[in-house]
Every structure is written in structure tokens, then in C-alpha cells.
């Protein structure tokens, strides 16, 4: 489903990604861990083209991403749902409107493009959005403004927006880092349920090791821009963890 081949990226004279190789089967869920500044977010963003790698290849659904062609980039993005740490919702509009935004990539031609720009959607799409809101558990908030919601509710809206895309792949960049422990668990359960029930492939950047151990069967660890562990979660030993999060003299970055 996703294959990353020897991706390299330099930012401000530092190798943020230094030859990353990784591949995912369809329907798989992977936890991506590593200390701050190890390149997790950059790696995720090369997959939907917000970061253009200096060299290497990213292949999604059998097709390599063409970073230079805006149209083909857009076609790739349609298939990939993105979930953010800070939810990235439009605060001053309703929940439903935010969820509908997920359909924009699909409805990008002819009448659909014009009507969606005016703000009109086919009843089928609205019903779908309501159904997704029910799926994530906040259908009663559909007409509320987003700025009145709690953090957990906002992340549910963001998840519904991503699902509205009918994605083949979900990228979640620290989806629970801004939530309290109880809400975190619920949101993570929801994401895993989406992976299980809908069979959507998922890459989830996480910070908390216990959460990873309890919920994911495969874990990939990044350190200084390269992968230092990739395997079944139960094979992740204390030595590995110490190795991943040790004090790194070269970058001067202290692991959490």
C-alpha cells in the first residue's frame, strides 16, 4: 500500500530524514515513535506531499508521488486522510461544514465543483457526513460551532472529516498529544476501530510507549532521521528503547 524508498531531506543544514525505507501492507496499522526532532512529522508529510524530499521515492497505492505536478499531488492527497495534533479545524463554522470539507477532493469536477463552492452539497453527501458523525459519536453536535467543542470532540470532527474523503490511508500526527488521558484512550480506540472495521491503512505518530505497546502490533522507531527499529511490538526490548531515546550528543537533544 505504501512504500518509502530511501527518502532524504535536509532542513537548515541538518539531515532530518537520512535514507528512510519502510513499507506498509494494505490494512496495516503502524505506530511511529522516536524522540522530538527525529523526523516523524517530516516523514509523514512526505507521504501527502507537504514536504518534498530531496531524494528517494514514496509510492502510495502502486503509484509513485510526483511532487512537481500539482494535479497529480492532489489526486494522491484525495486518497489520504490526515489527522493533526491541533485538529486543524475551521473554528468559526459548524461541525457539519468542517466534515463536508473532507468531500471537496472527491467533488472536484463540473457541477459538483461549482455547487460545493457555493456551499451546496448533494443530499447523499450530507447524509454520509451525518452518518460519519454518528460513527465517531457526535451526531448531536452537527450544527454547533466548532469553537464550542472540547478537545476530544474536535478530534472526532477531524476524524469524521478525514473519513469523508473515503481514504485508503490515514496519517495521524500525534492525534492524542493534546488530549487528557481518558479522552486520549477513547480517540485511539476510535482510530483503531476505523483501521479494523473499515480496513484503512494507518500510520500513527505517538509519544507514549505504553499506549503503543498496548495497541499496535507493529512499531517503527526513528532516530536522527533514520529507522532504528522496525518490527513486532513484543520484540521491542528495554535495550531498544534505551537506544532510541538515549541522550544524543551530536544533536544535543534530550529524549523524553
Amino acid at each position: 500500500m505504501v512504500r518509502i524508498e530511501n527518502i532524504k531531506k535536509r532542513f537548515n543544514g541538518r539531515n532530518v530524514l537520512d535514507g528512510v525505507n519502510m513499507s506498509l501492507r494494505r490494512g496495516e496499522a503502524v505506530a511511529l515513535i522516536g524522540p522530538s526532532g527525529s523526523g516523524k512529522t517530516t516523514l509523514i508529510r512526505t507521504i501527502n506531499g507537504f514536504v518534498v524530499p530531496d531524494s528517494g521515492k514514496v509510492i502510495v497505492g502502486g503509484k509513485g508521488i510526483n511532487y512537481r505536478n500539482k494535479e497529480s499531488l492532489r489526486q494522491t492527497r484525495k486518497k489520504i486522510g490526515m489527522i493533526y495534533q491541533l485538529f486543524n479545524l475551521v473554528e468559526r463554522t459548524s461541525v457539519l461544514e468542517n466534515v463536508m470539507a473532507g468531500a471537496l477532493g472527491r467533488l472536484d469536477n463540473g457541477v459538483n465543483l461549482i455547487s460545493s463552492t457555493i456551499g451546496l452539497f448533494h443530499k447523499k453527501e450530507r447524509d454520509k457526513a451525518m452518518e460519519l458523525l454518528k460513527f465517531v459519536g457526535i451526531e448531536d453536535k452537527a450544527f454547533e460551532r466548532v469553537d464550542r467543542l472540547s478537545g476530544g470532540q474536535k478530534q472526532r470532527v477531524a476524524i469524521a472529516r478525514a473519513l469523508m474523503q473515503d481514504p485508503e490511508l490515514l496519517l495521524a500526527d500525534e492525534p492524542i498529544a493534546n488530549l487528557d488521558p481518558k479522552t486520549s484512550r477513547k480517540i485511539l480506540e476510535l482510530l483503531l476501530r476505523i483501521n479494523m472495521e473499515k480496513g484503512i491503512t494507518m500510520i500513527c505518530v505517538l509519544h507514549h510507549l505504553d499506549t503503543v505497546k498496548d495497541n499496535f502490533s507493529r512499531v517503527v522507531a526513528l532516530k536522527n532521521g533514520s529507522i532504528c527499529f522496525d518490527g513486532e511490538t513484543y520484540t521491542l526490548t528495554h535495550d531498544h528503547i534505551h537506544d532510541i531515546y538515549e541522550f544524543e550528543e551530536e544533536t544535543g537533544c534530550l529524549a523524553a
Binding site: N48, F50, R74, Q75, T76, R77, K78, K79, I80, G81, M82, Y84, L86, N88, L89, V90, E91, R92, T93, E97, M100, A101, G102, A103, L104, G105, R106, D108, L113, S116, T117, G119, M130, A142, F143, A158, R161, A162, M164, Q165
Partner: protein
């Protein structure tokens, strides 16, 4: 589910009625202001031919212009100083947390009342009672400064941090000690900023007060325009713009330094002290230009009293006509706002740094809105009257040009402050460019735009009440005439109607603004 469907249905019906009401109001407003495509095109060509007549500007009376410029700046300066002195205690008295009881209510009511009346109306009152000259201007500016500045002061005082106040209270200090050591240090930089802003504002206003005989460059401009000496008028206009622009820049820079704590800081100590010294010397010298004739003031005060006494009882016989006039005036404000919005949407979008990546373009656009903003509307109304003739259309144009400067700036700021996070999220769904604008930028800026529009509408309705002073339509003409004909009882009725409308619009606008954001 069914509940929400009927909720959307009700919303749609409500939306339909509100839109229809909006369209009807717009239509009526255009009608009363003689605003349509044809008049707009004609107005444009008339204005161009007037500007052609202004060239080349005639600077032959430069000594007079120079003296009047100094007089104008002096008026602005002393109006501000006087206003500041009164506002300082009044600000504390009208702030919720440093005042209380009946004192608070009286001060707050007084401040609101003073703010509701445009400075040019004070100028008319002082000119009729104290005679022509810059003293009337200084007093008028002082009164309108009190209205604005006391409110700014009070707001600053009300938004202070409670914690240091409590700490000083905990030491057992008396009330004044708390104000001096816990409140004042917090609000002082803000106060300084507001004072400078008011100084800037007042010098600009002083340019205009001359139109009713209250001294300064305005008198000369009015005389030259009335006698069709457009080349001489152009020279005055150029000087006015030069002064306004320079003062605007200096004041903006100083305000920035004050807010950032750089003013009178260690490294700028000597430079800033020198600047303050120069300003004080100029201020003292400029006092020479304000003829404070105590004998005249002594005569004047009974005349103000007579004027106030003469207003009672108000004469309500012409009230139906006045209300009609007031509605027309409101229509002018609405049309002016509409035009201003049309002009400022392209300006705003093109001067936003995150939309246009070419500094040349956004800087030019920002300069255009600065220029529009700097142009006092009564002055441009005077020019438009010369170009398109007497009547509301000239007033609408003047209001539109002036406030397009404000809106252009506000829009650009709103667009520059758009949160990029949701924009990226919508882009990540694979949406097209228009869709991204529609679903991530639009919803973020629209509430702000509407709020600014409502605020500008409120101020424009207020501004259109005085347009009549230079013959640019609305109720202002009858107001001035009633005063010139000593029909003070009619004046009272007119002032009452204006005040009521202004207060109503103010309330409606702030109510709606709370709803849209």
C-alpha cells in the same frame, strides 16, 4: 435527525427574510443617495476634470499657508493636552474597577454623551458663542477628545491584571496608593499610546474644523474652494496631506516603540528625551497662535448658556420632516459603507502579505489605503461637492473613500491573521484552490469582515449627519441652518433625533457584531 432538519428549514426561511430585508434597505439607500452606475461614472469623470483644474497648484501664498499650518497643529496639540487633562481623572471615574456607585454612572454617561456628538458640532457651538478663530477649535477638539480618550483610558483600566493590585492591597495600602503603584504602571504605556493616537487624530480633525470657521488651514481651504480658486486650494490640500502623512508615520512609529517598551529605554534615552524637548518647545511656541482672550471667553460663556437655554423647549413642529431627513442620512451612511466595501475588497486582498507574495504590490496597496484613511471626509466632501454638485451623492463618495482606507487595512489584517492549520488540512483532502479558499480562508475571515463592516456602518451613519455642513447632503445642513438662523429650539429637536439615531445604531451594531464573531 428530524429535529435538525426542521431547524435548518427555519434557518433558511429566516435567512430568506433577512436577505430580502437587506436588499430592500440597500435599494432605498441607493435611491436617497442618488447612487447608481450612471451617476458613479459621471461623478468619476467630473472628479477627474476638477483635479485637472487644480494643476498646477498655486503656492504663491505660502507664508499664509505656513502660518496657518502651524496654527492648525497648535490647535490639535492644545486640544489634545486639554482633553487629556480632563480625561485622566474621568477615565478612572468611569472605569468599573476604580470607581463605583452613582459617580461611575454619571461619569460613564457623560463620556458616552460627549462621544456621541461629532467634533464639528462642538466647533459650530463654540464659533457661534466665542466667535471665529482657533480657540473655538481647541475647545471643540478638547471636548471630543474627552469623549474618546476617557473611554480608552477606562477600557485600559478595566483590563488590568488583578494580581499585582491584590498584592499592593495586601500591604495595607490606601486606595490612591493602589492606583499609583499597581494600576498606573500597568496602564501607563497604553495611555501614552492613546494620547499619541488622539494627537494624530486631532491634528487631522483640526484641518477640517476651519470649514465652520474654527481656525486653521480649513478656513483658507474653504474660502479658496468657495471662490473657485482651485489651484490655490490644491496647494493647501497638498500641504495638508504632507502634514497628515508625516504625523501619521511619526505617531505610528512612536506608538510601536511605546508598546514594545523601547520608548525612553536605555539605548533610546537621549534621542527620545531630545524629541520630547523639541515637542514641548514647539508646543509652548505654538501657544502664541491660540488667541486666548479672556475678555472674549467671559463674553462667550453667557452666550453658550443662552444657546443652551434657547433650546428649551424643543420645537417638535417639523418632526416628520426631520425624521425623513434622518432616514435619508442613514441611507447615505449605508450607501457609503456599501461603496467602501466594494472598493476595499480588492485593496484588502491585494495588500495581504500571505496572498500576494510580491512586496511591491502589497506595499503599494497599503499606501493606497493609508492615503484614503488620511483624507478627512469632510474635506473630501468639500471637493466632491465642487466636482459633482451639492447633495448626498458627494457625501456618499467622501465617506466611501475615507472608510475604504480603514476597511482595506482591516481586511488585509484579517487575511494576514488566517490560521494556516485548517488551510493545510483542507489542502490535505485534495481540494482545489477555490475550494480551499471557500472552506478554510473564507469561514475564518468572513465573521471578522462582517464585524468590521458593521463597525464602519455605525461610524458612517454618524459621519453622514455632519456632511450637510459642506452641502454634501443629509440632516447636517438643516442643523447648521437652524443654528445660523438662531432657531435653537429646532436645533434641539434635530440634535435629539441625531443622538437617538446614533445611539440606536450604536447599540444595534454592537449587538450584531457580538453575534457574527
Amino acid at each position: 435527525m428530524s429535529g435538525s432538519v426542521s431547524a435548518t428549514y427555519v434557518k433558511r426561511v429566516k435567512g430568506f427574510f433577512l436577505w430580502s430585508l437587506f436588499i430592500i434597505i440597500m435599494f432605498l439607500s441607493f435611491r436617497v443617495s442618488n447612487l447608481d452606475i450612471k451617476t458613479l461614472v459621471e461623478g468619476f469623470s467630473y472628479s477627474v476634470s476638477l483635479i485637472k483644474e487644480m494643476f498646477p497648484p498655486d503656492f504663491s501664498r505660502w507664508e499664509k499657508i505656513l502660518l496657518l499650518s502651524i496654527e492648525t497643529i497648535a490647535m490639535g496639540f492644545w486640544g489634545t493636552i486639554l482633553g487629556m487633562t480632563i480625561s485622566f481623572p474621568l477615565g478612572f471615574l468611569s472605569a468599573k474597577n476604580t470607581s463605583g456607585g452613582i459617580l461611575y454612572n454619571i461619569s460613564k454617561g457623560l463620556v458616552n454623551f460627549l462621544r456621541a456628538i461629532p467634533d464639528i458640532m462642538y466647533a459650530i457651538v463654540f464659533v457661534t458663542s466665542l466667535g471665529m478663530g482657533s480657540l473655538a477649535g481647541v475647545l471643540a477638539l478638547a471636548l471630543s477628545t474627552v469623549g474618546l480618550l476617557s473611554k480608552f483610558y477606562a477600557e485600559a483600566i478595566e483590563s488590568i491584571d488583578r494580581k499585582p493590585v491584590e498584592a499592593i492591597e495586601a500591604t495595607g495600602s490606601h486606595g490612591l496608593g493602589v492606583i499609583r503603584h499597581a494600576v498606573l504602571p500597568q496602564v501607563f504605556p497604553l495611555f501614552m499610546g492613546y494620547n499619541l493616537y488622539l494627537l494624530d487624530h486631532n491634528i487631522r480633525a483640526a484641518m477640517v474644523l476651519g470649514l465652520v470657521g474654527a481656525g486653521g488651514l480649513g478656513v483658507e481651504l474653504f474660502t479658496q474652494m468657495r471662490s473657485f480658486n482651485y489651484q490655490k486650494a490644491a496647494a493647501i490640500l497638498i500641504i495638508i496631506f504632507a502634514i497628515i502623512t508625516v504625523i501619521d508615520r511619526v505617531s505610528a512609529q512612536l506608538r510601536k516603540n511605546i508598546i514594545e517598551g523601547k520608548f525612553l529605554s536605555r539605548e533610546n534615552r537621549y534621542k527620545d528625551s531630545l524629541l520630547l524637548l523639541i515637542i514641548s518647545v514647539i508646543a509652548m511656541l505654538s501657544l502664541y497662535f491660540i488667541p486666548v482672550n479672556f475678555k472674549e471667553i467671559a463674553y462667550g460663556i453667557p452666550r453658550i448658556w443662552e444657546f443652551l437655554k434657547g433650546m428649551f423647549p424643543p420645537d417638535f413642529s417639523g418632526i416628520a420632516d426631520y425624521i425623513k431627513l434622518m432616514l435619508e442620512t442613514v441611507g447615505m451612511g449605508i450607501s457609503g459603507t456599501f461603496l467602501a466595501i466594494l472598493i476595499s475588497i480588492p485593496i484588502g486582498v491585494l495588500s495581504a502579505r500571505n496572498v500576494i507574495h510580491a512586496p511591491v504590490i502589497y506595499n503599494i496597496m497599503k499606501e493606497i489605503s493609508n492615503f484614503f484613511r488620511a483624507m478627512p471626509e469632510l474635506m473630501s466632501a468639500l471637493i466632491f461637492v465642487a466636482a459633482v454638485g451639492l447633495g448626498p451623492f458627494a457625501g456618499v463618495l467622501a465617506i466611501a473613500i475615507h472608510t475604504a482606507g480603514f476597511l482595506g487595512k482591516f481586511y488585509a489584517e484579517a487575511i494576514e491573521n488566517v490560521d494556516p492549520k485548517p488551510v493545510e488540512a483542507v489542502e490535505a483532502t485534495g481540494a482545489r484552490f477555490i475550494q480551499r479558499i471557500r472552506y478554510s480562508v473564507f469561514p475564518q475571515v468572513m465573521p471578522l469582515f462582517n464585524s468590521y463592516n458593521l463597525y464602519i456602518l455605525d461610524r458612517n451613519i454618524r459621519a453622514s449627519t455632519v456632511m450637510g455642513i459642506v452641502g454634501a447632503g443629509g440632516i447636517g445642513f438643516d442643523l447648521v441652518m437652524s443654528m445660523k438662523l438662531f432657531e435653537y429650539q429646532k436645533t434641539a429637536t434635530l440634535i435629539l433625533i441625531i443622538l437617538l439615531t446614533v445611539m440606536l445604531v450604536d447599540w444595534l451594531s454592537s449587538y450584531l457584531r457580538k453575534k457574527v464573531v
